[in-house]
Amino acid sequence: MKRIISILLENESGALSRVVGLFAQRGYNIDTLTVAPTDDDTLSRLTLTTQGDDHMAEQIVKQLHKLIDTIKVVDLTVGSYIERELMLVKIKATENDIRAELKSCVEIFRGHIVDVTPQTYTVQLAGDSEKLDAFIEAVRDMGIMEVVRSGVSGISRGDKFLRV
């Protein structure tokens, strides 16, 4: 099953490569990976998605925690959580009816058209991965030129938080 793993990491050179290297070394796949400094710029927050059963997820969390640069690790999928992903899609939009259809599609998915040329529309969409997948399916036949996805960012619901 899909796992969303959140990691709080020292914002130091080489730290990210240790996380990525661990996945390669232990034979785990990374489906998506996002990383950026937090409000405290000595810390990076990573969100990583992978596939695995409970045993594998437990090993991944333990192995990640063992890395010296890692401060906190949590498997968000064991509790309730919010996931968001940002997507930019460039779609061929030369004909009027396509442009109209695309616009209504973007509205339905609560996205935004962020760039327009006579030939193209560029759509920005945020949501969970399934919603982004669904949008791609909805517009696939219109002529997708380019898809850029940020990868998943996740946070737990409620009072729980990940902080030093």
């Binding site: 990491l9 050179s13 080489g14 490569s17 240790r18 192995q63 401060i71 030093v164």
Partner: protein, 578 residues
């Protein structure tokens, strides 16, 4: 305020970290450091002949003393040559700090002469690594490196230092931190009290218990606590290859080593056990055999300082994360407080069964191989003779292969840190440099490297280091003119097609070779000469002696687990199996 260059700071930091000995090899990127080393007397440097040996020697020093070992190498090839040594230490959780020179910061990334991304290359085989970018950071980084290497589950730490960071013309104040604190690294020490209680209760109620003790017991200096617990409960103990000496090898309750070449009684006891108390061991594939068939009746208690080792291969029913020492201390005191007593009758019955297995098929109750005669010297008999002549008190290092297994089986280690071998990585070429490390630490002790003619040639250049630094190790070369373990597998699995495992007539004259390095060489081809020659060898306390002993070429190591079987599925000799 006095000011120091980066090189000087590094050496001072080593001294303040309590480091007396550094094994290494100079080169361009490390020259500022070597110059600082030259201008002081606190840190002693031992020049090896190959960087791999520097790391193995530091490793042997660490394994025999419990201190952190230190190696110093230059950038590029110096660093990559150290890799096998680092990987060896990593697999066996040996605390090392390996300092590598690096090209100047301004040249990093330009494919400069002797540039290698050491932090990158070593990443999967280190506990942690640092690239130091300012002279001001050196002392703190060294303090962190030793702290990380020696705490929690120990392991090697690489400190990569670009040449301009040790520039003698750039000087800064020196201060060594009193203590190291890292928010991201706080290893667990004490185990969970409730879990320990559960474990003690389970142990006391066991009817067919086995204590399965690994290298963690040795590394954490927990042998006394383990022995006390085992003897109080009258439980049988088996040690892993890494754990030999963690429980006294000559004690009645000791079943011998377990695993691929473990004893019949240890492996069979594991299979039938109702409770397995695993401590400082990691259920390695060379122990468990087929995981699906592993110990079907056992409740498993697993103590390890590294949470990732627990339930990695085998699910633990009672996991305990903590150091062996702290958990055993707690167990010892709890077992006295608890109102329940071990089931003496069941344990006595279990011992009847265990003794029966020993008598039937044990390697210590009878010789399970044909005795030596004339020019047919059995390798097992050489180890037995070594044991006899050194009174079982030598520090034994080995390389990897049949000789390693024979030494593990037939030299009975009563004390921890006297059995030094590359268990996890299985590094041929480990034995001689590791022996140098042990000999430096214990100049008055007999240190013997049990090896084979294959392994010894992987780091034989270190015979020269032994001369220069007066390290009178004894080399016991079990010469069967072939890669014995490879040939054994080829015998068993490849219809004796000896693909590239024999040397034909290409082997050197080891006696002459030893003499060329200024050492004593001996050739033994007849069993009747063995005892006298070996006595002579160990009587020469200040000389390196190379005993080249021709042993039976057809001998195999037994018992041997059958692939895909349970722990008790063993070949006992070439024709008999369980």
């Amino acid at each position: 305020m006095e000011l120091y260059s980066g090189g000087e700071i590094l050496i001072r930091a080593l001294k303040d970290a309590g480091i007396k000995n550094v094994w290494g090899y100079p080169g361009g990127a490390a020259l500022h450091i070597y110059d600082a080393l030259y201008r002081q007397e606190d840190v002693h440097h031992i020049l090896v002949r190959h960087e791999q040996a520097a790391v193995h020697a530091a490793d042997g020093y660490s394994r025999s003393t419990g201190e952190v070992g230190t190696a110093l190498v230059t950038s590029g090839p110096g660093a990559t040559n150290a890799i096998t040594g680092i990987a060896t230490a990593y697999m066996d959780s040996i605390p090392l700090v390996v300092i590598s020179g690096q090209v100047p910061l301004t040249k990093i990334g330009q494919d400069a002469f002797q540039e290698t991304d050491m932090v990158g290359v070593s990443r999967p085989i280190v506990k942690h690594s640092f690239l130091v970018t300012r002279a001001e950071d050196i002392a703190e980084t060294i303090a962190k490196a030793y702290y990380i290497a020696s705490t929690g589950r120990p392991g090697p730490v690489v400190v990569d230092i670009p040449k301009d960071v040790t520039d003698p013309s750039y000087k800064v104040p020196y201060s060594y931190p009193d203590q190291v604190k890292m928010r991201s690294y706080q290893p667990t020490d004490k185990g969970h009290r409730g879990q320990i209680k559960r474990a003690v209760k389970t142990l006391i109620q066991a009817k067919r218990p086995v204590i399965y003790a690994g290298g963690g017991v040795v590394l954490d200096n927990a042998s006394e606590q383990l022995t006390a617990l085992a003897q109080k409960l009258n439980f049988p103990v088996t040690n892993t290859l890494m754990g030999l000496g963690g429980y006294p090898g000559t004690d009645r309750q000791y079943l011998g080593m377990l695993g691929m070449h473990g004893t019949f009684e240890a492996n069979t006891a594991m299979h039938h056990a109702d409770v397995i108390f695993a401590i400082g061991a990691r259920f390695d594939d060379r122990v468990t055999n087929d995981l699906d068939k592993f110990c079907p009746h056992a409740t498993i208690i697993h103590v390890d300082v590294d949470p990732t080792s627990i339930s990695k291969n085998i699910d633990a029913h009672i996991p305990i994360v903590g150091t062996c020492t702290s958990v055993l201390d707690e167990m010892n005191s709890l077992s006295e407080q608890m109102a329940i007593e071990p089931d003496a009758e069941a344990i006595a019955e279990w011992w009847v069964q265990l003794d029966q297995w020993r008598a039937d098929k044990g390697i210590y109750t009878a010789s399970r191989y044909e005795e030596s005669s004339g020019n047919c010297i059995k390798p097992q008999d050489v180890i037995k003779m070594l044991y006899k002549i050194t009174n079982g008190e030598a520090i034994i290092t080995t390389d990897v292969g049949q000789h390693q297994m024979f030494a593990a089986q037939y030299y009975l280690f009563d004390k921890p840190r006297t059995w030094i071998n590359s268990g996890g990585l299985g590094t041929m070429g480990f034995g001689l440099p590791a022996a140098m490390g042990c000999q430096l630490a214990f100049p008055d002790k007999a240190v013997a490297c049990v090896t084979g003619e294959g392994s010894i040639q992987m780091n034989i250049q270190e015979l020269s280091t032994c001369s220069q630094h007066n390290l009178p190790v004894k080399i016991i070369n079990l010469n069967n003119a072939a890669l014995g373990m490879v040939r054994q597998w080829q015998d068993m699995n490849y219809s004796s097609r000896y693909s590239e495992s024999v040397y034909e007539d290409s082997l050197p004259d080891f006696v002459k070779l030893a003499e060329a390095y200024g050492h004593v060489g001996m050739k033994i081809t007849h069993i009747d000469d063995l005892e006298e020659k070996m006595r002579e060898c160990f009587a020469m306390k200040d000389r390196v002696v190379f005993m080249d002993i021709d042993v039976d070429r057809s001998e195999h190591v037994y018992p041997m687990q059958m692939p895909g079987g349970s722990m008790r599925d063993l070949w006992l000799n070439k024709t008999e199996r369980t």
